[in-house]
Symmetry: C2
Subunit: 126 residues, 2 copies
């Protein structure tokens, strides 16, 4: 049987359930958290993640990870001990989603000079 994967979802449709999921991934911190986990290639602790994603607050990291966990992108493992020890990893789906996000970020980092030039040209024209 050659089943056709036919997406019923359309993110361009306003009411589609995929919209919030996209928001979580492309929100202020979503992509950074995902790619940080992707680059780690192994479990990462909360504090370590906060250090990697510079500028994020406890509150935002917690909230972002919560959304991603709910969406099935991130797996959370709690080792009940004192002090507590919590590890985050990407799920199988999360790893696949992280791919394009990592590409985007790498492309952007490599092409930042191009962007800066464009910005300068834009300012000059206005």
């Amino acid at each position: 049987m050659t089943e056709q994967e036919q997406p019923v979802a359309d993110v361009f449709s306003a009411a589609c359930s995929s919209r919030p999921v996209l928001q979580h991934l492309t929100g202020r911190w979503g992509a950074l958290a995902m790619v940080a986990l992707d680059r780690a290639e192994g479990p990462v602790r909360f504090g370590e993640l906060r250090r990697r994603v510079e500028g994020i607050s406890d509150r935002m990291l917690s909230q972002t990870l919560g959304q991603l966990e709910r969406d099935g992108m991130v797996h959370r493992t709690v080792h009940s001990s004192i002090p507590p020890h919590v590890e985050y990893t990407l799920t199988e789906l999360g790893a696949r989603v992280a791919g394009p996000l990592a590409e985007l970020i790498e492309l952007l980092e490599a092409e930042l000079p191009t962007v800066m030039d464009a910005q300068a040209a834009y300012e000059a024209a206005s």
Copy 2:
């Protein structure tokens, strides 16, 4: 000469200029606008774009396109006539950036059932 492209940019650094650029692309409407332009494969007018990106307001579309134009992702062509006629296309850089964004969106649309299942499981566990 085999020049090594060595990115000086690091999006994980809080003050890096790449951060705002990433914001524009992964903000609420950035990715949707980029991929809508990518799928069009040709010039798209303002009104057409607004129709394609369901739910976006005049104000947000204008602002989003302005940011993307400033970042060198989108090219804007004004045909001075009455009524006005303005066309948007991706720049060469924009087209390359749109690639990963399109991948992300397609993956998300295809895997939405997986995400919905994860959400249901999450609710059940709490």
